[in-house]
Amino acid sequence: MDLSYTAEEKAFRDEVRSFLAEKLPKDLQDKVSGSDGEGLTKADMERWHAILNDQGWLVPNWPKKYGGAEWNAVQKHIFEEEAGAANAPRIVPFGFSMLAPVLHKFGSQEQNDYWLPRMLNGDDWWCQGYSEPGAGSDLASLKTSAVKNEAGTHYIVNGQKTWTTLGQHANMIFCLVRTDKDAKQQEGISFLLIDMDTPGIEVRPIILLDGSPEVNEVWFTDVEVPVENLVGEENKGWTYAKYLLTHERTNIAGVGVSKAGLATVKRLAKSEMSNGKPLIQNPHFAARVAQVEIDLKAMATTNLRIISKAAGGGTPGIEASMLKVKGTIIRQAINDLARRAVGAYAMPFASEAVEGSNAGLPDPLGAGPVAAQYFNNRKLSIFGGSNEIQRGIIAKVSMGG
């Protein structure tokens, strides 16, 4: 048992730290700190992707032959933790860490050769078209249909996807579609790559409760998709989708982001005054902060235990579900503390959706829109498999159901 990093791992961490110190633009850092990057524009995110790409670190999980770095689980963790703590924008995951692994494993050579370089160069922005209004937790009940035309050249797609994160920036969407209505639910699903400029696609923004235009509805009416855009085999999409979900759940614990969030809470509580003294000296508030910090320290170690198991070739099973549940509880608790810390100043509304609303917004502690963030991050326990679904998985697996 040794809780510290090896010499090589430490050297790697130092390399990451100096890269971040040197290359992470201050203005991006400022947008992320205290507000979880909600103010980042498409151009901001693309700029950060390009900086990482120059360094060869945009897609560390990819095979080297496609421009990846083949980092092991510990290296990935170190990068994520350091980037989180430095308030770096998160890498938009849909193409780089969701679609790409599916293409590597199940895509054709042509698909890999065509789509991967475009992804790296920023030519394509991908979004994820899984959920539908009637198919959330029960994803396999999805209805969007894809029927091959008579010539056999195209799929004709009809239906609706929803909750499509950053779909407004995307020109490509990967979708789960139903290609066999008569098969058992999971066996009639296929995995399609769809150009969002194709006629018949309409994207409508959904404004979230904190005012952010973060997700979208995507409507498909007789959309023609070339058959070359099918990934793998027809009706095998559910297998690929599940493979993708295991990738969606990496870094699910969000240790780095939570550490940065806790540091922000402490900073706020040092400046906020309560009964004439800094709030951090209020034993009640200090206890709340300490409680979360204690939980976070233990979870960070759980995370490392699971990561070193993965680095040693083991496959994480229900541990990923456990990290998802605990990690989101901790992040949401930190958002709750930040909101509490600033008192009445949690009430003002800073929203990008309301033009000019930031003008003259009072923020004496430089807290950012903490209450908006508190509400926005209620999503953490809903998406990517809700916490109830994760608990169901843990129970089923651990009790052999």
Binding site: G136, D138, L208, N275, M347, P348, S357, N387
Partner: protein, 377 residues
């Protein structure tokens, strides 16, 4: 022992509930939130007509209510519909202080408030006062027959729309002293007052109010010099009861929406409410709703009691509502899934009203500590 509403209060509740159900739906309300002023003059006038504002003042003050249960009845309904119009700020806080402390000429404004033609705001909190009522740093200095105000008032709800501000300032002593605080009734256009307005996350608007050598006649003072603290504390008690009742009404809406959704939304071929993981949480929310209703009754029933009894009940209720409210808001969203995250769904607004209610007049933690102090006293 009788937990029934009086006939008058029952009638007011019925007519108010009916009016809001018919005239204040989600789309109407969200359009009001998006408007420049953040309030609807039309709704204000019609609710005044219905007697909503009159119910917040006693008969001696020109109204027909003003007791704890009158506030509770009105604000529970306003909360149920997610009303963003600042009745609390104009009538219970600022208007209430004018009614409590004003001389005859100042009190004439109360009639206008009840009629719905006068807006007010209470400029009391400051950037470093957090929830402490006596941490007033703004100063009031005598200058001949005049008084000169200086200071910075934070997150003053309804300041932009207000015709008059009730401003607290210190004439003697130190921030943290109960004595030395005075109140002043000041037309909001008075020279030296700068109002920097902004929207609030849960609807409505507030402002930072800067006082820069604001010169007013000594007759603008409400009540006696340096002795306003007890009146402020009593008014904040009334406002806290109103706030808690509003939160209770909003919680009713949240739990009703959630219960309905659990019975209609299907996943895996069955209503999601049939999953025990959700059914039990729903049961917990219903249990907490009963606690919350009783807590509001405890506070409302002691508004007219002696100071310590009143304040201990207010703090107990505020603490419980903070906890139960957060649970209801968070679990209602969680049990809905993605749909509750969207701005146009009613629950989104309701959840924000509930949680932001904890940021007014002291939060869960503040009132827990205060309850301990008051219990020891």
């Amino acid at each position: 022992m009788n937990f029934e509403l009086t006939e008058e209060r029952q009638m007011l509740q019925d007519s108010l509930r009916r009016f809001l159900r018919e005239r204040y739906d989600t789309a109407t309300r969200n359009a009001i939130i998006d408007s420049d002023t953040g309030i609807s003059a039309d709704i204000w006038a019609q609710l005044a007509e219905l007697g909503v504002i009159g119910a917040l003042f006693t008969e001696e003050q020109g109204g027909f209510g003003g007791k704890g249960f009158d506030l509770a009845v009105v604000f529970e309904e306003l909360g149920r519909a997610g009303v963003v119009e600042p009745f609390l700020d104009t009538a219970v806080l600022a208007g209430g202080l004018v009614a409590d402390l004003g001389d005859e000429s100042q009190q004439s404004l109360v009639e206008e408030i009840i009629g719905g033609t006068c807006q007010m705001a209470f400029a009391h909190g400051e950037p470093t006062s957090r929830y402490d009522l006596n941490r007033v740093q703004a100063t009031a200095k005598a200058d001949g027959d005049n008084i000169v105000l200086n200071g910075h008032k934070a997150v003053v709800i309804n300041a932009e729309a207000a015709d008059h501000l009730v401003i607290s300032a210190r004439e003697s002593g130190q921030p943290g002293d109960d004595t030395g605080i005075s109140l002043f009734l000041v037309p909001s256009g008075t020279k030296g007052i700068t109002i920097q307005g902004y929207a609030l996350l849960a609807g409505g608007r507030a402002a930072e109010v800067m006082l820069d050598d604001v010169t007013i006649p000594a007759t603008a003072r409400l009540g006696k010099a340096g002795e306003a603290f007890a009146a402020i504390e009593a008014r904040i008690a009334a406002a806290s009861i109103a706030q808690c009742a509003e939160t209770l009404g909003a919680m009713e809406t949240a739990t009703t929406l959630t219960k309905d959704y659990l019975m209609t939304r299907k996943q895996f071929g069955r209503p999601i409410g049939t999953f025990q993981a959700l059914a039990h949480r729903m049961s917990d929310l219903l249990i907490e709703m009963e606690q919350a209703r009783s807590a509001v009754i405890n506070a409302a029933g002691h508004l007219e009691a002696d100071r310590n009894t009143r304040e201990a009940n207010v703090s107990a209720t505020k603490n419980l509502m903070g906890r139960a409210g957060r649970l209801v808001a968070e679990d209602s969203i969680q049990m809905h899934g993605g749909i509750a995250m969207t701005q146009e769904y009613e629950l989104a607004h309701i959840a924000k009203r509930i949680v932001m209610g904890d940021h007014r007049f002291g939060d869960t933690d503040y009132h827990l500590e205060r309850f301990i102090d008051l219990s020891a006293a």
